[in-house]
Structure formats: C-alpha cells, structure tokens
Amino acid sequence: MGKIAWRALLVGALLAFLFAVLFPLYWMAISSTKTFKELFSIVPVFWPSEFTPKAYKAVLTSPAREIPDLLDGLRNSLVVSGATVFVALALGTLAAYAIARLRFRGKTAVTALVLIVYLFPAILLMVPLFAMFAMVELHNSLRGLVVAYLAQTLPVSLLVLGNYFRSIPAEIEEAALVDGCSRPGVIWRVTIPLSVPAIASVALYVFMIAWNEFLFAYILLSDPKKFTAPVYISYLHSQLHTPWNQVMAASVLVTVPVIILFTCFMKWIEKGLTAGGIKE
C-alpha cells in the first residue's frame, strides 16, 4: 500500500474512533440543556436554539421532602464511596504490609486466602450477600452497602498493595530499624511515604468501583432517600414518561466528578488500570 493510502486509513480510523467516543458524550451534554420541544422534535436538534438549565434544576431540587433528588443521591454515593475507600485502605495497608514483610506463623495460609478470594467470580457473591443482608436486616442501610463494596475491593487492595510493598527494597527499612526506629514507626515514616503512588491508585480504583456500583445498591436500598446516585438515575428513568433531559443532566453530574478525578490523577489511575490488579 502506498503512503497516501496508509495516511487515509489512519485518519479515517482515528475519526471513526473519535466519533464513537465523543458523540455520546456530546449528545448527553446537549440533551441535558434542551427544551422539551427540541428534545423530542421529529428532526433531532444537533445544536439547541436555546440552552436551558431546567433539567438540572429539576434533578437537584425535589418538590417534597420524601421525594429524593440527585443531591441526596450524590451525598449518599460520596459517603459510601468515601467510607469504602477509608476502610479498604486502612485494613488493606496494614494487612498487606504484614503479609509482605513480617514473619508470623500462618503466613502461607493468609497469603493463599488473599489470592483465592481475589480469584472468586464476583457473581458467586450476589445471592449469598443478598440472603445474608436480608437475614441480619442490613437491608436499606448505607453501612450494609459499604460491607458489600468491601467484599469487591478489599481482595484487590490487599493484592496490589502487597505486591507494591514487596517491591520496596528491604534495606531501606532495615536501615531505619537499625537506627532505632520501631516497626510501626518504619511503616508510618518510611514505607507509607514511599508507597504514595500505589496507595493513591488503589484509593482511586476503590472510589470509582464504589461510585459506579449499581447492582448491590439497587437490591439493598429500598428507601428512596438512601438511593445512591446510580440508583436515583435508574429511578428517574423508570418513570412512565422518561424525562430524558433530566436523566441526561443527572448523568452529566455523576460523570463530571469522575472526569475531574481522572484528569487530575491520570497517571495513577492508568497505573491502577494496567497494574494487573484490576478486577471487575
């Protein structure tokens, strides 16, 4: 093939990818600001004649106390995701360090446990967790949701952090120990500062999993005031006449935090995505 043919193929493929990726993004943004008339017009409107913030106002302010709005959803999502990140990191860092560095009886068993639970197919957890939550009446509780998210994120955190701690040269820690630093002191002052990239990428990974999670939030939460943002959006969509501008506005508002996080911490997130610890 000639050089021009190659160029044409390359540019064509690039444009096709850009269209496939950006058109949906564009369509979401534009639909969220359309008036009802232009939203449902027979000939689709690709550039609205007027932009209205109506849909955003509608999803952010509920008409009555008992009716949830997206603010409740975003707040619940933030609380649940934040708590999941905090617990997964706190427990994960401590245990992963001990597994990677300390000597204790039963270490082989714990290491094997971490690997085994990491390999379990996620679908095996759906039915038993549902039954367990029904039994202990953790139904409809954000705390219960955090527990369900830990089941999905703690094994990954343990594995990724453990691998990272093992890659830190032991000599650095030993030097600090010889200088009279205690083991907890070494972890706090030497290991954790050295592991900021790994800890940050695990934190972002766990946050995104919890922020995006739908299944467990959908089965466990029945009180609309406790809906997380994704469940709130599915509830918006389930109305008799789907208010598509509102669904799109809510989608924009859930997506924006993720895009901001992503652009700020691109390096770390990509590392987390490709480090081999990822699991869906």
């Binding site: 190659w6 690039l14 689709p44 427990l91 759906m126 993720v258 869906e280």
Partner: protein, 297 residues
C-alpha cells in the same frame, strides 16, 4: 529461643497478627463465608420465605431443576456466544486504537485521554446515553439511519429479538476497548525500535512490519486481554440488566441467576445457577491456559 532476639521476633509476630486480623476477618466474613454459603444454599431448598426458618437438604435437586429449565440451556448458549463476541470486539477495537496511538500524531495524548472515556465514565451514565441515542421513538440513531436510507422503519434496538443481543455486544466492545487498548499500547511501546529498523533495511513495508513484527510480539498480551475480558463479560450483570433487563434474547446467566434468587426469591435455585456459571468459567480458564496461553511449558 529467649534473649533479646527472641523477644523481638515474638513482638514482631504479635504486631503482624494485629495488622492482619481485621482484614482477614472481613475477607472471611464477606467473601469466603458467602461463597461457602452459596454452595450450601445450592443444596437446600432455601427461599426468601423460609430464610430464617431452616431449609431442608435437597441434594442436587436444585441443579437438576436449573438444567431442566429451557431458559437455562438457551441462557448458557447466549452467555458463551455473547462473552466470546464481546471480548473479541473489545480486543479488536483496542488493538486498532493502540495501533493508531502508536503512530506519532499531533495531540496524541489528547486522543488517548478521550478514548478512555467509555471505560472511565460511570456505567449508569453511558448506559442511559445509549438508551437515549437508540430510543425507538425519539432516538437520534433511528433518525440518522433512516435519513441515510440504511433502514426503512424505526427499530426498537434494545428489545427487538434480533437486535438486542448484537447491541449488547456492540456496547461491551465500545465500553471495554480502552482497557484492551491500554494494555496493548504498553506492550507495543516496549517493542525495541531496532526490530522495525532491521526489517525496514530488509525492505519490509509498513504492513509487513505490522504483521510480522508487532503482531507476534503482541500474541501473549492479546491472549491475556481476551481471557480477562471473556471472564469479566461472562460474570457481568449490571451492563445487560440496565441496557435490556434481559429482553430480546439477552437473558444471560447472571440475569437468570438474579431472576431466580432475587426476582422470585428462590435462593437455592439462584445459588445453583451461580455455581453452574462459576464451574463453566473455571473449566474455560483451565483449558484456555493450557491450550491458548500454553502455560504448562
């Protein structure tokens, strides 16, 4: 034992237990126990109604019931076919995207970042964007396709018996190609330039170099990415649930599991269905490792 060294060792061991214990308890309680409980449930006639009243042992009756359900066989076939096609699609598109980004282009980093959007954005948003674009009444897709004459009447893309499954596959390919792209790109950029230069000196054209240098180097990463995508798609619940809720021949195994256990409260049947799913998956992974990735050598 004894002496300062021994006490130091013992103190370290105590510290280790303190550090490991909380995580181990959580993992045992919310992962290992549920999985064992799932196995137990699959042999008992547990339902939401008799959850706390004690269910009785029914042997493999749940498994037989699931196998005899005509939905199950169809669902298994659909799941295998759809996981395979969706994994193939995301790997193929990921390979294409990686090859594009491997060329020195202006704004390469910008393109790369925007390609990641489908994978990074919350599932809920991208699903509803798709549902809106492919809405049977007011969707822009139907309008464009009718204007260009590609279809003559609007199509109900996500519930139509012929269209829904290809749409789900297309969605998966679209959403997960960036994952494949990242891994493939990392491998592509690790191929030493000398290899290409040597081939260019020998007079190999671009296409030739791609076929005989890049692809063989990528064989392993392509195999691994395909395996990961296949396994994850096989397990995937919420994508299909949100996109079609199982309408139009898209009732995949995770959806069937959900319908048994949560939809109708037959926890035992759901558990047995999840076991079938897992066993199929493990068998596939073992065969794949031996045959395709050839890890025994």
């Amino acid at each position: 034992m004894g002496g300062p060294r021994g006490t130091l060792r013992r103190r370290e061991e105590q510290l280790a237990y303190l550090m490991v214990l909380p995580a181990v308890l959580v993992v045992l309680g919310v992962v290992l126990f549920p999985v064992i409980y799932n196995i137990w449930m699959s042999f008992h006639n547990l339902t939401l109604a008799n959850l706390t009243k004690g269910a009785s042992f029914v042997g493999i009756r749940n498994y037989l019931k699931v196998i005899r359900d005509p939905d199950f066989v169809q669902s298994l076939l659909i799941t295998v076919g759809y996981s395979f096609s969706a994994a193939m699609m995301s790997v193929a598109a990921g390979l294409a995207a990686a090859l594009i980004l491997n060329v020195r282009l202006p704004f390469r980093n910008l393109f790369r970042a925007s390609f990641l959007f489908p994978y990074i954005a919350p599932l809920i948003s991208v699903v509803y964007i798709w549902k809106w674009i492919f809405d049977p009444q007011a969707g822009v897709a139907n309008w464009i396709l009718m204007e260009t004459g590609l279809i003559s009447a609007p199509i109900d893309w996500l519930t139509d018996g012929r269209m829904a499954l290809p749409m789900v596959i297309l969605f998966q390919g679209w959403r997960y190609f960036p994952f494949a792209m990242l891994l493939i790109l990392a491998r592509l950029q690790a191929i030493p330039q000398d290899l290409y230069d040597a081939a260019a000196v020998d007079g190999a054209g671009k296409f030739h170099r791609l076929l005989h240098i890049a692809l063989p180097e990528l064989r392993y990463v392509l195999g691994v990415v395909f395996l990961l995508r296949f396994v994850w798609t096989f397990n995937k619940f919420d994508d299909v649930f949100l996109l079609t809720s199982g309408a139009g021949n898209t009732k995949v195994l995770p959806i069937l599991t959900y319908r048994y256990a949560i939809g109708t409260g037959q926890l035992g049947l759901g558990a047995a269905c999840a076991m079938f799913l897992s066993i199929t998956l493990v068998a596939f992974i073992l065969v794949y490792q031996l045959r395709v990735l050839k890890w025994e050598r």
